[in-house]
């Protein structure tokens, strides 16, 4: 089989993996090898679905022995199968890297024979790259659940980032949909990676040449919409993973039906893209805005508001904390103003040391005032005493409408069923505003 054909088959099998980041580690190039890494990560292109492509994302093989119901590569599925030899894949990576197509390699694999054998094959590829080709670019490798801990520590020495997919947001769903995988087999290597990385960091502080173990940390991914968990459940799980396992990222992947099974959503179900979007917004609030999961959602409101992003939603539920004075409030509070992001907050913090700011100043600094204007006070400006209804109407996320009818199955609110009927959007928006204002 030609390499081109293998590449097509194995990239096709790998495309549902979400992570394609090349961030988290700075490594300069040197005269002995090829490549370097940049802590911020570099996107090399964007695919037709708007996702960043920064790594050559392929499977080593898609000849899987497992039968996970949601997966394209399950053993019972009739798809073309292929396997790269380690040499082929290493050469392909170098060829792409030299032409600046990619930032490195994202290597995953279906389970061939057994987890240990699969990991050994993956390690062979990485050893070729790091050893023979002196490759210093980024490598993200998947850990296969159930593989020997020795193999995990071996691959961690070669890769920059490791990830173990937790696949589904609860053990129950995992047992139903991925019967060959267990919670234990997923979490044990995650804990091991965390432990070893901490240890390697401590050693590095003592000996500057101590080997680095997964310098860019570990990440994970879960499928959203294939199982019945609530957003609150998922968000609490995410927060737990960040705290307990020091993950760098948790990725969410809207379930795209690839298999017909009574346990799964029907084949014509559209992927819950808005829900995924809201989860990422909440994820950002956790990681960069010092929110906790229980502030964003709670047991009563256990799903995201489709019309307001999580930060706006939090703000309209906590109107008693606003408006805040841009010139005096704490940095943490600045971060909580809808429309003000980390960069704007930092710029405001610098600029206000040299004099009080007015609206013109904020604009020149680059703060987007579209949403923020309802929540801030600054020199010479007080927000209009807009009613709750007006505020909510100004904040409504147009994305909730442009996603259109795809979103319907997720939220069974009467408002959305009107969308399905094809009513005019302004009318729906009005109704949504009334609903929301009442609810708040």
């Amino acid at each position: 089989m030609e390499v081109l054909e293998k590449l097509t088959i194995l990239a096709d099998s790998a495309k549902y993996d979400v992570a394609c980041t090349s961030s988290g580690v700075d490594r300069e190039g040197d005269a002995t090898g090829l490549g370097s890494t940049v802590a911020a990560g570099i996107c090399h292109t964007f695919s037709a679905d708007g996702r960043c492509v920064s790594l050559l994302k392929v499977l080593l093989s898609n000849c899987c022995v497992y039968d996970c119901k949601y997966c394209v590569n399950r053993v019972t599925n009739d798809v073309p199968r292929a396997t790269f030899t380690p040499r082929e894949l290493a050469e392909l990576t170098i060829g792409f890297y030299r032409r600046n197509y990619i930032e490195g390699l994202f290597l995953s694999s279906a389970v061939v024979r057994n987890p240990d054998y699969t990991m050994e094959q993956m390690i062979k590829v990485l050893e070729l790259l790091r050893g023979e080709y002196h490759f210093r670019g980024y490598i993200h490798a998947k850990t296969i659940p159930g593989a020997d801990p020795m193999l995990v520590s071996r691959i961690g020495m070669l890769a920059d980032r490791l990830s173990i997919n937790i696949e589904l947001p609860s053990e129950k769903s995992l047992n139903t949909l991925a019967p060959n995988k267990t919670k234990q087999a997923i979490l044990a290597p995650m804990a091991q990676v965390r432990r070893t990385a901490l240890q390697a960091k401590a050693e590095l502080a003592t000996y500057s040449h101590a080997p680095k173990f997964v310098p860019a940390g570990q990440s994970t991914q879960m499928i959203i919409g294939a199982s019945p968990e609530s957003d609150y459940h998922i968000l609490m799980l995410t927060e737990g993973l960040y705290h307990k396992y020091s993950l760098k990222r948790v990725f969410f992947s809207a379930y795209i039906p690839v298999a017909e099974n009574p346990l799964l959503p029907a084949l014509d179900t559209a992927p819950p893209l808005l829900r995924e979007h809201r989860l990422y917004q909440a994820d950002w609030l956790l990681r960069f805005y010092k929110f906790s999961a229980s502030e964003i959602l709670d047991k009563e409101n256990c799903n995201f508001n489709p019309f307001l992003d999580p930060k706006c939603n939090w703000a309209v539920h906590n109107l008693h904390l606003f408006p805040v004075d841009i010139n005096y409030c704490s940095y943490e509070m600045l971060l909580r103003v809808p429309g003000i992001g980390v960069k704007s907050a930092m710029r405001i913090r610098v600029a206000r040391r040299n004099g009080t700011l007015d609206m013109g100043d904020l604009r020149r600094i680059g703060v987007v005032l579209k949403r923020a204007q309802y929540f801030i006070v600054c020199r010479g400006f007080k927000p209009m005493s807009a009613g709750r209804e007006q505020t909510v109407s100004a904040l409504i996320d147009p994305a909730a409408f442009s996603f259109g009818t795809r979103q319907l199955s997720m939220f069974d609110t009467p408002v959305l069923s009107v969308v399905k009927g094809g009513a005019a959007i302004p009318e729906i928006k009005e109704e949504a505003v009334r609903c929301l204002a009442r609810q708040i």
Partner: protein
């Protein structure tokens, strides 16, 4: 500054030339209405004053920036001068005059009308640099890798370290067709040279194969159920597509013809590398 002079300064488009303008402005106590490149000058109602580039004056001005303002200010001035901001010369001049009065504090007056545009110009440049670090596509011509880019800002100096460190054992050329300049790295020596055109030799078989594989990979990796052209264009603006082989077919553009005097035209990769070597040897 004693006041506005009804005068336009003309300079030779070099950084030193511009710094000489700053010198003259300060020591003649006059504020020009504009500083423009002599080649772009048009007849106008304002008096036009030709400023001869004087390296000594330029050095004095450049040396004064870290001393009177701060080191970062010098960096900022350099970046804005290489950016594509409208009237960047006047922007920098006003910033420097403010800086000479306020010292290092000028860097933190983010909302000042003379400072804010400096930062946004710098951001525009740095953002484009960051995008291009990923969007540059090299083609392998045997002895040397070559790429062509069409940026708005003069980005090559900011790409130099990244690519030199990344491809230390390779030889490469990045040609900026808009600014007629090339970043050449040959035999562990890198330099930015001015170059009117670059004609590339025909593609090797191997190169064609890799291109085909990359195009196939790009096509395969997209999930049809999630197609989102607007999102793609936000992240990867269309003006970069002409140089990115995986999306170029979607642009459906007629190829540009080269003309000019200072032309590198090579039949083979070997010739290309010889020419690169000559150019770096000259410097």
């Amino acid at each position: 500054m004693s006041g506005t002079a009804d005068m336009i300064y003309l300079y030779d488009a070099s950084f030193e030339g511009f710094l000489t303008c700053v010198y003259d402005c300060v020591y003649n106590r006059e504020m020009p209405v504009d500083i423009i490149c002599a080649d772009d000058a048009q007849p106008s109602m304002f008096l036009q004053k030709n400023i001869e580039t004087d390296n000594e004056k330029a050095a004095r001005v450049y040396e004064s920036i870290p001393r009177k303002i701060c080191g970062e200010a010098a960096e900022l001035v350099r970046a804005v001068f290489l950016s594509c901001a409208a009237q960047k010369e006047m922007l920098i001049l006003r910033f420097l005059l403010l800086g000479y009065r306020r010292g290092a504090q000028a860097m933190y007056l983010l909302s000042n009308p003379d400072v804010a545009p400096m930062y946004s110009a710098e951001r525009h440049l740095k953002n484009e640099v960051h995008l291009l670090l990923g969007f540059v596509r090299f083609s392998d011509y045997g002895e040397v890798l070559a790429a062509v880019i069409h940026p708005k800002n003069f980005v090559l100096p900011y790409m130099q370290t990244h690519f030199v460190k990344r491809f230390m054992c390779e030889n490469f050329i990045i040609y900026d067709e808009v600014h007629k300049a090339a970043l050449v790295y040959y035999n562990a020596h890198s330099e930015i040279i001015s170059l009117d055109a670059l004609t590339l030799p025909p593609l090797l078989e191997d190169e064609k194969e890799y291109r085909a594989m990359w195009a196939a990979f790009y096509k395969t990796i997209a999930i049809t159920a999630r197609e989102n052209p607007r999102c793609r264009m936000t992240h990867c603006p269309k003006r970069y597509w002409q140089d990115m082989l995986e999306v170029r077919p979607e642009l459906d553009k007629t190829p540009k013809l080269d003309d000019g005097n200072n032309v590198i035209s090579a039949k083979t990769g070997y010739e290309l590398s010889l020419l690169a070597m000559e150019n770096t040897a000259k410097l």
